[in-house]
């Protein structure tokens, strides 16, 4: 193997890994919602879009008021989180709650309807031209330099993506601790396991649903902001990235947090390898081909819970 090939491999692995971490974060939001409410949220990509634009707007506004950049980012992200919590609550109360107990297709369609509404609102307010964030959310511009003897030129890797991976990791750890240790987290797991049993133990399922949706909205917004910072800027293409998370959750299993993370990294790596070694246009297709193969062998994904049906 010649040195250039090795460097290419390292580059692809690096970007596949950071891409995969972002996909994992997106998938995590989807899994969260599915686990406790049995809804697959086709509007997740639009939550990301909305989050990115809310973050963009608050950064833009704060920039004129506050001078210190770190403070701008901190307050801006806080505002975004608060707004997204409210939106999560609103969506759950107005759109999803009336549909509890309806067939799968109705629930899918209501989230699809919601996604169209959010896209229309965002497009109507902010227009369609892509913007870059006014303040860098991750203020790191250094690069790693890797050089191997005999290679034509050294490899430069952006440290920014590593920070993003780190942020994703911290969020995931926080979520795991939340699920394992906190009262609400345990209540959420109980609800996911058996809604009626949870109700009879005095858990308010309504509160849990509301909590889940706001949590999912916040993770989506963070993912949207990171994508805007790292790749495509604040633009109408963000929901397309959200669409890429569907193979991830199916691969990992709809109800498995571990599956979301492993699936995210796996799909991220597969995507970059396929586009780097075979054909760039394969990027969007290969995950789905992998998905079809996996589903043929393991219909509930790699880590999904097997459901045994009785008549």
């Amino acid at each position: 193997m010649n040195p250039d090939e090795i460097l290419k491999f390292i580059r692809l692995t690096y970007s596949g890994f950071s891409d995969g971490a972002l996909l994992a974060l997106i998938a995590l939001g989807l899994v969260l919602v599915y686990k406790s409410t049995d809804v697959i949220n086709f509007a997740h990509g639009e939550f990301m879009l909305l989050g990115a634009y809310v973050g963009y707007q608050s950064l833009l506004t704060l920039q004129t008021i506050v001078t210190s950049e770190p403070l701008v980012v901190l307050i801006g992200v806080l505002i975004m989180v608060v707004v997204m919590v409210l939106i999560g609550l609103l969506v759950e109360r107005l759109v999803l709650r009336p549909l509890i107990g309806e067939p799968v297709i109705s629930v899918i369609m209501v989230t699809i309807g919601l996604s169209n509404i959010i896209q229309a609102v965002v497009g109507g307010i902010w227009g369609k031209t892509p913007q870059s964030l006014p303040v860098e959310v991750i203020p790191v511009s250094e690069r790693f330099t890797i050089s191997i003897e005999g290679a034509r030129r050294p490899l430069l890797l952006q440290q920014e993506s590593l920070v993003a991976v780190f942020i994703v990791l911290v969020l995931v750890l926080l979520l795991i601790v939340f699920f394992r240790r906190s009262k609400h987290g345990i209540a959420m797991r109980a609800t996911a396991d058996d809604q009626q049993a949870a109700m009879s133990m005095g858990i308010s399922v309504k509160v849990i649903f509301a909590l889940t949706w706001s949590l999912a909205a916040v993770t989506a917004a963070v993912a949207g902001l990171l994508i805007a910072e790292l790749t495509i800027g604040v633009s109408g293409d963000i929901p397309g990235v959200g669409l890429r998370a569907f193979p991830v959750i199916i691969l990992g299993g709809l109800d498995s947090i571990l599956g979301a993370i492993v699936g995210g990294i796996a799909i991220g790596l597969i995507e970059t390898y396929a586009s780097g070694y075979i054909d760039p246009s394969l990027k969007n297709v290969v995950p789905y081909i992998v998905l079809l193969i996996v589903l043929m062998i393991r219909p509930y994904g790699l880590f999904g819970q097997k459901l045994i049906e009785r008549v």
């Binding site: 297709i105 369609m109 169209n116 109507g124 789905y288 081909i289 998905l291 589903l295």
Partner: protein, 436 residues
């Protein structure tokens, strides 16, 4: 649903009718009259929208067979439409297949590929299946964009668009320069069609197969109108018949020519699917939707019928795709994206799941909604240039938002769709003024 009382069936054929009451028959007759009369009164702009509704209706019925009746959620509708459209287009462009054969072949090809994508459905259910059909969408789109023979590089420039040749509703090979001969041939054809249709209709009416009679009547009426128009023009103006057919009955430029084709396809599909769910195959589909394991216990071969459901649905969707191809001068993958799949799902949700007429109402609603918004918007904007600019900016978002709002409101307020609202209206008047 309030049942009509006072209907007594004395024979099995009478008991098995799809439309047993007088009211239903009157409505069917009215529908036929409107359908035949429409091209005479409607302008080409309106007829264009009607044609889009016809195509969408065929596609929506296809999706409803799969999603509404068999309970298999598909997000791959756009892909199957694309397969139908490209199969039809490629057959016509590269193999010079006549359009009728190309359309039928496209439907069979789509059915075959749909059946293949239906294979995972044996092991997958609900959400997993929905996402697996997303795979069909992505893979087909990629193939269309990447596969070179499909790029329609006729003039050496590779594009995604495939140019569709001109097709004529009636053949063009009759270039005999003899007016008397034309007249005789056309008159003979009209007579044959009329007599044949009358005989068939009488036969079907005797067996109380009203739908078949109506379908034959519709087809005969349309053919006679087309031939009659040709006869009148050729006789009066003394022009070459084939020239007349070329100028007036080109499918992708004359809306009324396409209307005849679209209406006939839709009517056949409606009759076929309405009857499908009275056969053991259709009943098996419904049983699978309601409880698949129970259906298997009752002796329904799940694998066979699920794949069959995918194939039947894709066949109809393939027909719709072929219609899309025949209706346009060029097709490209942008017309078959995931947004299209979503629109079709919205049609059957808004119209009514597991309902043939619902599919048509939903298709009409989704096709007409953006048009209505455009009309209203341009009325409000008036002639002020600034207002028009703002209107042009807002319009796509307003259309998209309205689409979303309609879906959400339908699901929350009337999950059974337009069909249920229409049924409620009928029930109200059936019992009027003494409703309970």
């Amino acid at each position: 649903m309030a049942a009509q009382s006072g209907i007594y069936h004395e024979t099995y054929p009478s008991d098995m009718q799809i439309r047993p009451t007088t009211m239903q028959r009157v409505r069917l007759l009215l529908l036929l009259v409107v359908a035949i009369g429409l091209p005479f009164v409607a302008g080409s702009g309106l007829l264009r929208i009607v044609n889009l509704v016809l195509i969408a209706s065929v596609g929506a019925i296809g999706l409803n067979v799969l999603t509404g009746y068999t309970g298999q959620i598909s997000l791959g509708q756009g892909a199957f439409l694309a397969i139908g459209a490209y199969a039809c287009g490629l057959l016509m462009v590269y193999f010079q297949v006549p359009w009728v054969l190309a359309m039928i072949a496209a439907a069979f090809i789509t059915a075959f590929i749909g059946g293949i994508f239906g294979l995972p459905s044996l092991r997958l259910k609900g959400l997993y299946l929905a996402v697996a059909t997303l795979a069909a969408q992505q893979i087909v789109n990629w193939v269309i964009i990447r596969w070179d023979p499909i790029d329609g590089a006729i003039d050496g420039v590779a594009t995604d668009a495939l140019n569709i040749p001109a097709n004529y509703l009636l053949g063009t090979g009759w270039a005999v320069d003899n007016r008397a001969l034309y007249t005789v041939v056309l008159l003979a054809l009209i007579a044959v069609v009329l007599i044949g249709a009358l005989l068939l209709i009488r036969r079907f009416l005797k067996d109380q197969l009203l739908e078949y009679a109506a379908l034959i009547g519709l087809a005969a009426a349309l053919i006679v109108i087309v031939l009659g128009a040709a006869l009148v023009t050729v006789y009066r103006d003394g022009i070459d018949l084939s020239a007349f057919m070329r100028t007036n009955w080109q499918l992708n430029s004359s809306e009324s020519a396409f209307y005849v084709l679209g209406l006939l396809v839709l009517a056949s599909v409606v009759v076929a699917t309405n009857n499908l769910f009275r056969t053991h195959i259709g009943r098996a589909f419904i049983a699978i939707r309601d409880q698949d394991i129970a259906a298997e216990v009752m002796g329904v071969n799940l694998f066979r019928y699920k794949v069959l459901a995918f194939a039947v649905s894709s066949f109809i969707v393939g027909l719709a795709g072929a219609l899309v191809a025949l209706h346009s001068t060029a097709i490209s993958f942008e017309r078959f994206t995931i947004q299209v799949s979503i629109e079709y799902l919205a049609m059957i949700i808004i119209g009514g799941l597991a309902s043939i007429s619902g599919s048509i109402y939903g298709a009409a609603f989704i096709v007409i909604l953006p048009e209505i918004l455009r009309q209203i918007g341009s009325q409000i904007a008036g002639a002020d240039p600034a207002a028009i600019r703002e209107f042009n900016r807002i319009l796509p978002f307003a259309q998209q938002g309205a689409f979303g709002v309609v879906i959400v409101l339908t699901l929350i307020l009337e999950p059974e769709g337009i069909v249920k609202i229409w049924r409620n209206i009928k029930d109200y008047f059936r019992l009027w003024p003494f409703s309970y």
